[in-house]
């Protein structure tokens, strides 16, 4: 199969992005399927971003923030967790497999864990196949 998953990753600036950076500076190899978007805090992530990512063709969406208690803005990651859990329930109703949306806490020193996470998620998505979220609703001809 020639399917190469596209995974959009929202990483918070303070912990997760730094952790990903560390994976890079440590020259750790990990799957190139990830597309990173840096945001200041995982609490900034709203469902619109994730739904848009799926709509634009993402096969998976990964969210990473600071471990609970470590959020640079105190509570942002908890807000992210609450929204994420509601989103999980929602995407199940929308027929999107739960493996496609994932939330993990990654600290600034967890470069290795980040690399493993990306590899693991890429493998899982490879197994379940490309996302079937259509780019547009089907507009059929009149005749």
């Amino acid at each position: 199969m020639n399917f190469s998953p596209t995974i959009v990753a929202f990483l918070c600036n303070w912990c997760a992005y730094t952790g990903a950076d560390l994976a890079g500076t440590s020259r750790l190899h990990y799957a190139p399927n990830i597309r990173i978007i840096r945001i200041m805090c995982s609490g900034r992530i709203e469902p619109t971003f994730i739904l848009k990512a799926f709509k634009e063709g993402a096969d998976g969406v990964l969210i990473c923030g600071c471990h609970p208690g470590d959020c640079h803005y105190q509570e942002g990651n908890y807000k992210c967790l609450r929204r994420f859990k509601l989103l999980e329930k929602f995407i199940a109703q929308m027929g999107i497999e739960k493996e496609r949306l994932r939330l993990e806490w990654i600290s600034a020193s967890e470069g290795k864990q980040f690399a493993e996470l990306v590899n693991e998620m890429t493998k899982t998505i490879l197994q379940i196949g490309p996302s079937k979220v259509k780019k547009t609703l089907e507009v059929e001809p009149v005749k």
């Binding site: 709203e46 469902p47 619109t48 739904l51 848009k52 799926f54 709509k55 609970p68 509570e75 908890y78 807000k79 967790l81 609450r82 929204r83 994420f84 859990k85 509601l86 989103l87 329930k89 929602f90 109703q93 929308m94 027929g95 999107i96 996302s131 079937k132 979220v133 259509k134 547009t136 609703l137 089907e138 507009v139 059929e140 009149v142 005749k143």
Partner: protein, 326 residues
Amino acid sequence: MTPEPVKPKLKLAVYWGAACGGCCVSVLDTHEKLLDIVAAADPVFWPIAMDIKYKDVENMPDQSIDLTLFNGAIRNSENKHMAELLRKKSKILVAYGACAYMGGIPGLANFFSKSEIFNRAYLETESTNNPEKTVPVHEFAVPEGTIEIPRMFNDVLPLNLVVDVDYYIPGCPPQSERLIEVFSLVASGAELPPKGSVVGANDKTNCDECKRKKSDNKLVKKFYRPWEIQDDKETCFIEQGVICMGPATRSGCGVRCVEGNSPCRGCYGPPPGASDPGAKMMAAIGTMIDANKPEEIDEIIESIVDPAGLFYRFSLPGSILGRKVL
């Protein structure tokens, strides 16, 4: 607000796709003000009220209809054909009502496939006796000849996915007073808002106009189904634990449902700046959940029984995802 026409009467059309007739009723519910509308406009096509046929519309010159209010969603080939035809024949085409704007209640069909809907309607329903498994077909040969019915599409679509839409008037149905405002504006010949605008509605959310008592404390430890509480009829629904779509819904309806002690369900669509009302509501609800531990959060989420069907009650086809993945 009587418009004073200084030019010939406007030609007005009102047509319906996959609709219920409520939007046509909203035009009639202008009651005595309808006299003013008719003073300024000639209806030229309106199937619920007039005997103009499709052939007559085809014979009209292009752009000869000044204003068409298209209500109802696009569910089948006839709806699409008429949308395209009316786009050609109209100067201004308005997506009138929630169905044309974002899909409306018929849009809930996007949680299912066409075959699931057919199976339920024609094969599985408990009162149906159909051992031959007959289903309606687009073209059918009867002994006397061939007769046709429109082909049902796989997806319900909002109007703007099949034709270019000039304006949107939201609501299920739109409040008649707002229609009069919009119509007066068009009839007066004044400059119209930019193409693609939502008109006939306000710029804030329903919370702004809601008369219930609100505080800043919107943290919720559990969400209740409306019948699980004794509504005190005064306090904000969300503060009583009942989800109300007010925060993610554009105002303009007068918050009539909450006046009737029923939480808002979002028929006026998203507020300005938000394209997807459900996504905004999910963001807001996430903020309101009063828990940080995963197990506690899970329990509260459990009490939200039908997120997709509630947050996208009127807007599933017009939302970012558009439909359930099959």
